[in-house]
Subunit: 219 residues, 2 copies
């Protein structure tokens, strides 16, 4: 079993509480490996901001704060809007097709959740499909760096919202919003795409806080 990948999944999907201490000596029991191997995984996660690390004081989960959620959401809007628009310019029909496919897969899972409720199995599939949808959205933007930064921010976003996600409270909205993004892609209108992406995240922003630049124009 890949210790790093598994801990990463757990750290992103909310299996630890915000601010919880992460002890290598404890986690090793879940994997039957040495504490060093766990430590190694935690160090790598700390380098991308999914775990906090203090010298001689070990590792903990990042604390939750509304400001942090707002900031990360804000960044995600910026990167995702820019990436999606570039994909629209460079992606062509192939990209539209792949986006449709990813959306189809995602919405299929979402309707199953709507019908059967959120089982662990379905929640896990949803996480994978949601990431794939948003990554496909940026996949034709032509910038490796943009996609890397997006993935980092995406993971932090998922981590911050993990407990909310599991309840699937906004499932119906999500389905509608994802569809609206696909429609915008087909329409070829970048301003509409930016607007749709903004609307998809709007409820996770703090209402009284200034929203910047291009993002303000979407509102």
């Amino acid at each position: 079993m890949d210790v790093f990948e598994d801990i990463k999944t757990r750290v992103i999907s909310g299996q630890f509480a915000h601010g919880e201490k992460l002890r290598a000596e404890v986690l090793r029991n879940d994997y039957g490996c040495s504490a060093s191997t766990v430590r190694e995984a935690l160090l790598r996660l700390s380098a991308v901001g999914l775990v906090e690390f203090q010298e001689q004081r070990g590792f903990r989960m990042p604390e939750y704060s509304e400001e942090r959620q707002h900031d990360i959401t804000h960044m995600r809007i910026m990167l995702e809007a820019e990436g999606a628009c570039r994909s629209m310019r460079h992606g062509g029909v192939g990209w539209e097709a792949r986006l449709n496919a990813a959306h189809h897969k995602l919405s299929h899972i979402e309707s199953r959740i709507g019908a059967m409720g959120p089982t662990d199995e379905l929640a896990h599939l949803w996480m994978e499909a949601e990431l794939e949808f948003h990554q496909t959205l940026l996949s034709a933007c032509g910038s490796e760096t943009l996609m890397e930064m997006h993935l980092q921010v995406y993971n932090r976003y998922r981590q911050v919202k993990a407990d909310v996600d599991r309840s699937f409270f906004h499932l119906a909205d999500n389905i509608r919003e994802h569809q609206a993004i696909v429609n915008a892609a087909v329409s070829g209108d970048e301003a509409i795409m930016r607007k749709r992406i903004f609307e998809h995240f709007e409820r996770h922003l703090m209402p009284d806080r200034p929203v910047d630049t291009a993002i303000a124009a979407m509102a």
Copy 2:
């Protein structure tokens, strides 16, 4: 001595060739520590893209490519323009003062380099002051995440351009461009700021490649 910080500096400032293999067993000699400690540092650096890591195959420096340089520069323009404009809106006089101070420090070092040539000592001071200037530019943007992503991209940029930097070929241009950015900050005109930032990086973009969105508007 802090092994991680020192290796990070060396990896950023071009003390290893592009694509060069980084062996923990070799590097340990420079620090008088065990290979595990070096390995730990390299793993953390690989998590932020400053070193490449392949399982069971160790670490190497990233390969150079024009595309990579273009992509990283592109991203830096985007993040820095956005951050600078937000700082203009939220920073107030305090920010302008700090930006002036940082610029003053930087230009002082730059003129010394112009006079005495680039000694190792001066090159090191320049690296620090240049980072501080660009970080100050974003320091009032109000987004931790934006600044973190910028630092990551800034480091990669420095790494890609490390060998060129050491020659200080564009020193005169740099002095002029940094001054222009400070002037734009004082002027309060965001469009001008975006333009000045674009001009500061323009020569590191590939000429025949499409430049996107807000960036195109700056050109």
